[in-house]
């Protein structure tokens, strides 16, 4: 019977993402070592993809430990293998997978830390664009400032959590030998930015969060400042903008007018 290639490939997929050689074995040349031969490919597929996740989620891995991470990542690989051959884009759904896993229930902050890590990975690989600086905004006629619309830089990401995710991320960096006690009752929102090819992570206050959320949703500078003040009366627009210009939070659309 002629071998149908598509059928072979789907049997092969089942064998490497499963645990035995199952229906694939029947297509192979008889050999006492078939299981070990198929296992070479299973091992390569699974280990290489677990390593991709380990590289994207180093802090999550440090928190749960290497063995538990490998187990969790392997279950994810089997449940949701990559759909495209572009591994820098693989693993975005891992945070949601963690949230539903036992370990994610036991460590309720873990999924949010993973979201922060994925946002950093996205920021690293995001498209290049010039960052908006103060001079450009200052050059606008004062009466236009209120109605100006800013745009987040392609690398900028906002991650909100009920947990201190920035602090957890910071104390789990490789250079920190002993993780200190952390008050898990502090909610943190983080802005991730990339400037001069360096990805930075910074916790921001509630007013700034409302400000950036309004801008991300297409609001004008005036509307965004109003949302910020409603949440935090002390919100200082000048101060917030200065920090964002330093970090490169916004994109400069040189061809477009800001209004």
């Amino acid at each position: 019977m002629p071998l149908e290639l598509r059928d072979m490939q789907s049997r092969f997929r089942a064998a490497v993402l499963g645990s035995g050689d199952g229906a694939l074995g029947a297509l192979l040349r008889a050999d006492e070592n078939i299981a070990a031969r198929v296992a070479v490919h299973r091992h390569t597929v699974r280990r290489s993809l677990v390593e991709v996740l380990a590289a994207a989620y180093p802090v999550s891995r440090r928190i749960v430990g290497e063995a538990i991470f490998a187990q969790l990542a392997d279950r994810f690989v089997v449940a949701a293998p990559p759909s495209v051959p572009q591994l820098s884009a693989y693993g975005g759904a891992f945070a949601a997978f963690i949230a539903h896993a036992d370990i994610g229930q036991r460590l309720p902050y873990l999924a949010d830390v993973a979201r922060l890590e994925w946002a950093r990975a996205e920021a690293y690989f995001a498209a290049d664009a010039p960052a908006l600086d103060f001079a450009r905004l200052a050059a606008l006629p004062p009466e236009d400032i209120e109605t100006t619309r800013l745009h987040l830089h392609p690398a900028s990401r906002l991650v909100a959590s009920a947990f201190p995710i920035q602090r957890i991320w910071q104390v789990n960096q490789p250079e920190v030998a002993a993780v200190p006690e952390i008050d898990l009752g502090v909610a943190e929102t983080v802005i991730i930015t990339r400037k001069d090819h360096h990805v930075a992570t910074r916790a921001i206050a509630a007013g700034d969060r409302a400000f950036l959320t309004a801008i991300a949703n297409g609001g004008t500078l005036g509307e965004a400042a109003d949302s910020a003040v409603r949440i935090a009366a002390a919100f200082d627009l000048r101060h917030a903008l200065r920090d964002h210009f330093i970090a490169g939070t916004f994109r400069d659309d040189a061809q477009q007018s800001l209004t």
């Binding site: 071998l3 192979l28 031969r37 070479v40």
Partner: protein, 279 residues
């Protein structure tokens, strides 16, 4: 830039910054894995631009899945074309293997049964890739751990006919020839002699390891003595070819990679009649 008939090394992300730097090491050419650079922007692409300004570059694909029954993914072809437009590679290569099926990418170079029907599919995919890129590609022989029951020809024959059908070139991985012969009971020297000499446009050399009675193409060690001997015989027989040292796991210091490339260069220079290689 054209790839010289000299020994280069595979560029891995661990060494990207060093080769992008102004005081970068001396090497006749470098090869990247195309899929490593399919991001939209950021430091990785910026460093690649700096590498391209200093070295001839070859793009070696690991994800096109030339053996897929499903055909090639047009979106992936488009991403590769964009990368090639950016780096202007001297050579473009892929594998005689498959990695995608039913919408899943398995991140391994998986084996194909060598039959007429499979040859039709692979030839159509290679032709589609060459049409899309507007140029010839090289196809690399994979490392084999299993053999299919219903094959009608050997791999060397399959590759030869693929070259005849599509005009593609061959990227000859001598370590893979050695590993496959050991694992599936073939004759490495006979395999090498069976390939069409003129089609061989690049050679890969890498290290392997031993596990469960098999040779595994791990790319985590120096090139073995047996593979060096096959390489020297091949170069003596067919002449010099661009040669690349691949090392993908436990990547060592650059000096170790350049040392391996130097050993290959000595063999290339001997073939050239003792003429020293022009730097």
């Amino acid at each position: 830039m054209e790839i010289p008939q000299a020994a280069g090394i595979g560029l891995r992300t661990a060494h990207l910054a060093a080769f992008a730097a102004e005081d970068s090491p001396t090497a006749p050419w470098l090869e990247i894995h195309s899929e490593t650079f399919l991001c939209d922007g950021g430091p990785r692409l910026a460093m690649l631009d700096a590498v391209v300004a200093q070295y001839p570059l070859s793009c070696h694909g690991v994800g096109l899945s030339l053996g897929s029954a499903d055909g090639l993914d047009p979106a992936h072809l488009a991403r590769l074309k964009k990368l090639f437009a950016r780096v202007q590679p001297g050579l473009i290569s892929e594998h005689l293997a498959w990695s995608s099926t039913g919408g899943a990418y398995l991140n391994d170079l998986l084996p194909l049964p060598y039959t007429e029907r499979v040859l039709d599919i692979v030839a159509a995919n290679v032709a589609a890739a060459q049409d899309s890129f507007g140029r010839r590609i090289l196809v690399e022989n994979p490392s084999a751990y299993i053999a299919f029951a219903d094959e009608t020809m050997g791999e060397a024959k399959f590759l030869t006919r693929l070259v005849e059908r599509t005009g593609c070139g061959i990227l000859l991985d001598i370590n893979n020839v050695y590993v496959s012969a050991a694992n599936t009971g073939g004759d490495a020297a006979a395999y090498l002699r069976a390939l069409p000499t003129m089609a061989i446009s690049e050679i890969h050399l890498a290290g392997h390891s031993v596990a469960n009675g098999m040779l595994i193409d791990t790319h985590d060690a120096r090139v073995s003595d047996a593979v060096w001997a096959l390489y020297a015989d091949t170069i003596a027989r067919i002449g010099a070819r661009p040669t690349l040292i691949e090392w993908d796991r436990d990547v060592p210091e650059i000096s170790v990679l350049l040392g391996e490339a130097h050993a290959a260069q000595v063999i290339l220079d001997q073939r050239a009649g003792g003429r020293p290689h022009a730097a």
